[in-house]
């Protein structure tokens, strides 16, 4: 039996969108992943992933309806590795401007804003951004990268993105990666203590994305054994 299988990962299911590609990637790197909305299963896992596509407001409503807000906050407070992907990154923030103002989980301070319809030189922006784009380091905090699960990823590597909104952290130190879409530079990844979260989809970013999952397995292992 594969040694890594002993690490159980809860993929938090709040009935929004497609969790299967995340599940496939976890299993591919040897994790015992479970798609679940059960609080006890989440709390008893070695790590958790908050995935998600769709609208911020609907997702928060579902998290509330399924009574998952406290379990997520408790899990993060436990110090175990926690990964947010796409909308799962945005939900960690204080608030989103989608459909008026929606409150988020407020685990990372800042807000979620929409791409404008034009860039600064008046060119029409296609929104959502769909496709591959570079991620690169936040110059003010360069050692973040090497201490994160991106440590084997080259700066300017391509990752796969699908999104209409992006995050603006209040604290520059939370920024792990930046990306530029048609002249708009934005935060595409955050790291704060045990939280790592990406706007892009590592599970859809080919071998380079799988490398990130593999490093996350190491982070889970290190946390569990120390």
């Amino acid at each position: 039996m594969n040694e890594e299988k002993k690490y159980q990962v809860a993929i938090i299911d709040y009935e929004m969108g497609n969790m299967f590609s995340v599940d496939h990637a976890c299993k591919y790197v040897g994790l015992n992943s479970i798609i679940t909305e059960d609080k006890d299963v989440i709390m008893n896992s070695d790590a958790a992933i908050l995935p998600g596509v769709g609208a911020f407001g609907n997702c928060m409503a579902n998290l509330n309806k399924l009574d998952l807000v406290s379990p997520i906050k408790d899990f993060v407070a436990s110090g175990k590795p926690f990964l947010g992907i796409c909308l799962g990154l945005q939900l960690l923030f204080t608030e989103s401007e989608e459909f008026g103002l929606s409150r988020g989980l407020d685990l990372i301070q800042g807000k979620v804003v929409r791409f404008p319809s034009e860039n600064t030189v008046g060119k029409k922006l296609k929104v959502p951004q769909v496709g591959w784009n570079h991620i690169y380091e936040n110059k003010q905090n360069e050692n973040h990268w090497g201490n994160s699960i991106l440590k084997d990823t080259t700066s300017k590597e391509f990752m796969y993105f699908v999104h209409s909104y992006y995050v603006k952290p209040d604290n520059d130190n939370d920024i792990l990666t930046l990306t530029n879409y048609e002249g708009i530079e934005y935060c595409s990844g955050v790291k704060k203590n045990n939280i790592t979260a990406f706007q892009f989809h590592p599970e859809k970013s080919g071998h380079e994305g799988i490398k990130i999952y593999k490093n996350w397995v190491t982070e889970i292992k290190n946390f569990k054994e120390n």
């Binding site: 497609n18 299967f20 591919y28 596509v53 296609k126 929104v127 769909v130 879409y181 970013s205």
Partner: protein, 284 residues
């Protein structure tokens, strides 16, 4: 913007097929083998289109999606014959990341809104199959360009966007499989009218066609089928005899198709990159 080069695989039963004007299907091989090769070769996404969409035999498609999704970690869009929210749920469960709808959306536009609310806009791709009429209009067709709808392609594109589509795949049935190049007018008019990404499909036979459809047609992404399939087949001839659905004479004969230049996905990206068009290409 990095323009995507999407490998399109038309599927009939267990086989990858390729036609002209979406008809006269030739069997090319096993879709998963092509998909795996295109993934390694730098495809930005994969698009599986079930061109027969038999309601009776979804098992082949299910197996193909499942096998692909477990091994290949780039986006996979699946289309063809998806009629309902239940059908969409099912192919997402097998491992597709996005679904492409044509007939179902034309018959019931509300399905776009329902599906985008349930799965997120970015999961819902609307396929527009257009044929240019004698009066210059472009009208939408369904069922691989066979069924007339009378719906104006440009009006439909905007309506699909407003209902919540995340992307549009625009097919020129006239150009599909011909190697004559994409339909620039069709693609440009749609791309300029909408705010969501537009994927051009149908017609490329040489590298110049890709530059043309991005620069002049304002395509945000392109799909390619024949050029890369013929290239793959020419390099992997020992796949054995093909039987079953579709015309197998071509693949068993080992002949090539004269109107279409063979190309690797990286040949296309290298060409675009040299022409100053951004794409996921790492010059090593």
């Amino acid at each position: 913007m990095n323009h995507r080069v999407i490998a399109r695989l038309d599927i009939k039963g267990p086989n990858l097929v390729k036609g002209i004007h979406l008809e006269g299907l030739r069997v090319m091989g096993k879709p998963e083998e092509f998909a795996s090769y295109y993934n390694e070769a730098g495809a930005d996404e994969l698009l599986y289109m079930d061109v027969v969409a038999s309601l009776y035999d979804r098992n082949s498609l299910k197996d193909i999606i499942t096998r692909t999704a477990k091994e290949i970690f780039i986006p996979l869009t699946v289309g063809g014959g998806l009629r309902s929210i239940e059908d969409i749920t099912e192919v997402l469960r097998y491992g597709a990341d996005k679904v492409s709808l044509n007939t179902a959306a034309i018959k019931n536009p509300e399905i776009i809104r329902q599906a985008s609310e349930a799965f997120g806009s970015s999961t819902i791709v609307i396929a527009i199959e257009a044929i240019k009429q004698n009066d210059g209009k472009y009208l939408c067709y369904t069922d691989n360009g066979r069924e007339y709808t009378g719906i104006d392609a440009f009006e439909w594109a905007e309506k699909a966007q407003d209902l919540g589509a995340g992307e549009l795949i625009v097919t020129s049935v006239d150009k599909e499989g011909t190697g004559e190049g994409f339909d620039i007018e069709l693609t440009r008019k749609i791309s300029d009218a909408v705010r969501i990404p537009v994927i051009a499909h149908g017609g490329p036979g040489k590298l110049e066609h890709f530059e043309e459809i991005i620069r002049e047609g304002n395509a945000d992404a392109v799909t390619v089928a024949s050029m890369i399939h013929y290239d793959y087949v020419s390099k992997n001839k020992s796949q054995g005899e093909f039987k079953g659905e579709g015309n197998v004479t071509f693949i068993n004969s080992g002949k090539e198709f004269g109107k279409i230049n063979k190309a690797e996905i990286m040949d296309i990206k290298k060409y675009l990159s040299e022409k100053g068009i951004d794409c996921r290409y790492i010059n090593e």
